[in-house]
């Protein structure tokens, strides 16, 4: 194997694997359509007939977006071992992601007939305003994030084109990619990506999204295992300390310690930020609308239990090896390229000596591309359900026929695809920061009201509204204050007392939710009993 890589040649393997993945995703969409048609359109298309099994739930409900999956290796490569602490809270994500709200959301969605998250808020609190605010928050926070992901998908397609010399997966620090963002390959990539994702999601709805998400999660695991086997033993052939020591020699002592190596003078992970990220991933995961919908769609409680175990092992197999791989990457390739290129560079560097090396590279590269497709697909379903179910059907056409709803749904998805393409002809910026912003905003909006919805009988509609609006306002204010007060770049927040906005958003939302609930009239007993108490037959048996 070559000791360093100065020029990488992209063969036909990556583009073949990408096209194969797209074809397989469309096929999954058609299979999902068959499953959807077994039940009513709304339940089938937006909730998969409440039949998600353990693998589907485990591998799709809490895994982060394509942007995060692609950005993480770049962070390890850039800042070193401290990123292990940055991502460390993923150790508890399987437990918090499923055990905190899982059973109750699955039960409440059945008792109320809710299909979307706003449906559930509306039915639980008995107030349409709560559902409407939830709906608008989802539309607002997720639409921007979805649009940003289109660019990542287009860039991957462009950069895996045979003969392309520069490889980078996302926009940060990819000067060359940015300079050529308007070129033909980018635009073709954008068009093909949008057509594929909108196409298979439109065909199969929620299940298509879930199944492709699951597929890419498996692909990601295969990619990580291949990279680990091909790279780590080679770099550590003179000792397991060698990857770190070589990387430190190329950077500095800070690469092996906190707050992390940095060339900008800004500490990557000071103490406050380390604490904050233990909120961002586990608690943010609890409050993700896409995750909550999957909980509503799970089959039964054994599914939830099994999902905890499956995801625990999956996360352990993905993140810890990926950190070691990227440290080895720094030892192998000390610099001279955009950090986002580290995974593609390692994939192409490692594969030549392997039979079918170009295809192996393609397999590894297809994994993050699949992650972007799955993310966009998920957002398409959640946003379309928000528009169709929570606005069109609830406020405009409550008794619309199934066929009408179907065509409106298709129209909304196509419209979202068009918006994604048009917005990215002039590519949007800040993908990675948008992921953190969106996670912080949705968590601050939904976590406290969702916990009250599930477990607190005294919670009121006014309390929930105050919590949602207060949490969202707090996060938006801090993200606005960063550029305005401190002159930071866009989406760099003001960190009050060194803590990230999510901590303050959750605190404000929780305080408002509880206090406003306590000072407003209790919810009607009939409403609470319907959602919290045992069914009448059980009650009668207990009282007799």
């Amino acid at each position: 194997m070559p000791e360093t890589v100065t020029q990488l040649s992209v063969g036909y393997g990556p583009i073949i694997m990408l096209l194969a993945m797209m074809g397989f995703s469309v096929w999954l969409g058609t299979q999902a359509q068959k499953a959807v048609e077994r039940g009513g359109f709304m339940q089938g298309y937006f909730l998969g007939n409440r039949g998600l099994g353990a693998w589907a739930l485990a591998l799709t409900a809490t895994v982060q977006s394509g942007g995060t999956f692609m950005g993480f290796p770049s962070l390890v490569y850039t800042h070193g071992w401290i990123v292990a602490l940055w991502i460390g809270s993923y150790m508890v994500v399987p437990i918090t992601g499923f055990a905190v709200l899982g059973k109750r959301f699955a039960q409440l969605s059945r008792r109320t007939g809710a299909i979307t998250v706003p449906d559930l808020f509306d039915a639980r609190y008995g107030d349409q305003r709560v559902g409407l605010v939830a709906s608008l928050a989802i539309l607002g926070f997720l639409t921007f994030l979805m649009i940003a992901q289109f660019k990542a998908g287009a860039l991957v397609m462009k950069l895996t084109w045979p003969g392309t010399e520069t490889m980078a997966l996302i926009e940060t620090a990819t000067a060359d990619a940015a300079q050529h963002a308007y070129d033909t390959r980018y635009l073709i990539g954008l068009g093909v990506f949008a057509l594929t994702v909108v196409g298979y999601t439109l065909i199969g709805g929620f299940l298509a999204s879930v199944w492709t998400d699951m597929f890419q999660s498996v692909l990601m695991l295969i990619g990580v295992v291949l990279l680990f086997v091909l790279i780590v033993p080679y770099v550590s052939r003179d000792g397991m300390d060698q990857p770190t020591l070589k990387a430190v020699a190329a950077t500095g002592d800070a690469y092996a310690f906190g707050p992390g190596f940095s060339t900008t003078g800004l500490a990557f992970l000071p103490l406050g930020a380390a604490v904050s990220f233990f909120f961002t991933w586990p608690i943010g995961g609890v409050g993700t609308p896409a995750g909550m919908v999957r909980l509503m769609a799970c089959k039964d409680t054994p599914t939830i239990r099994r999902s905890i175990v499956l995801l625990s092992f999956y996360n352990g197999l993905i993140y810890l090896p990926l950190i070691v791989i990227c440290i080895c990457g720094r030892a192998l390739m000390p610099g001279g390229f955009a950090p986002d290129e580290i995974v593609p560079r390692l994939a192409i560097w490692a594969a030549p000596d392997v039979p079918g090396g170009s295809l192996v590279s393609g397999l590894i590269l297809a994994a993050p591309f699949g992650a972007v497709m799955a993310t966009v697909s998920t957002f398409l379903v959640v946003i379309a359900s928000g528009v169709v179910r929570d606005i069109y059907q609830r406020f405009l056409r409550p008794h619309a026929e199934s066929n009408e709803i179907r065509w409106v749904t298709y129209g909304v998805m196509v419209l979202l695809g068009v918006i994604g393409v048009v917005a990215n002809i002039n590519p949007v910026q800040f993908l990675q920061k948008l992921v953190v912003f969106s996670t912080s905003a949705t968590a601050s909006t939904f976590v406290a009201p969702a916990l009250m919805l599930a477990y607190w009988r005294r919670a009121t509609a006014a309390g929930s509204l105050a919590g949602m609006l207060g949490g969202a306002t707090m996060v938006l204010s801090l993200f606005t204050a960063g550029p305005l007060v401190e002159g930071k770049p866009m989406f760099e927040p003001y960190q009050l007392l060194g803590l990230d906005p999510i901590v303050w958003g959750l605190a404000v939302s929780s305080a408002l939710s509880v206090s406003v609930s306590l000072i407003t009239s209790p919810p009607p007993d009939e409403l609470v009993a319907k959602l919290f108490d045992a069914p009448p037959s059980v009650r009668a048996a207990t009282q007799s």
């Binding site: 009513g40 993923y90 150790m91 918090t96 409680t301 477990y455 009939e526």
Partner: protein, 105 residues
């Protein structure tokens, strides 16, 4: 006086949620504290390794992460129970806010 019989699933789910959040809190306090005390502002001369990991990463992240993976087994198969979720009501139309239903009850 009406006797409240809360659903078994609600009671168990509330307990399981509290336990999950307790595990999160313990993991957060341990990992952040250990890593901050042992992994910040050191020099490479003092560094030792366990497998590929610097000592502070191994004991501060890898070990608790492994414990969480193992803990997921008794958590899921011992501590959590199974309860029926109930039949789903017809949801082709949005569920009515119970506002009116309750007011007329």
């Amino acid at each position: 006086m009406t006797h409240i019989v809360e659903d078994t699933l609600v009671r168990r789910a509330r307990r399981e949620a509290a336990l999950a959040l307790a595990i999160w809190l313990v993991a957060c306090v341990y990992s952040v504290t250990f890593c901050y005390l042992n992994g910040y502002e050191r020099t490479v001369d003092s560094l030792t390794f366990v497998l590929w990991f610097p000592d502070w990463v191994f004991w501060g992240i890898v070990v608790p992460w492994s414990i969480c993976i193992l803990l997921s087994l008794p958590f899921a198969y011992r501590l959590m129970g199974d309860e029926p979720l109930g039949e789903a009501v017809d949801s082709e139309e949005p569920p009515a806010s119970d506002e009116h239903e309750v007011q007329h009850a």
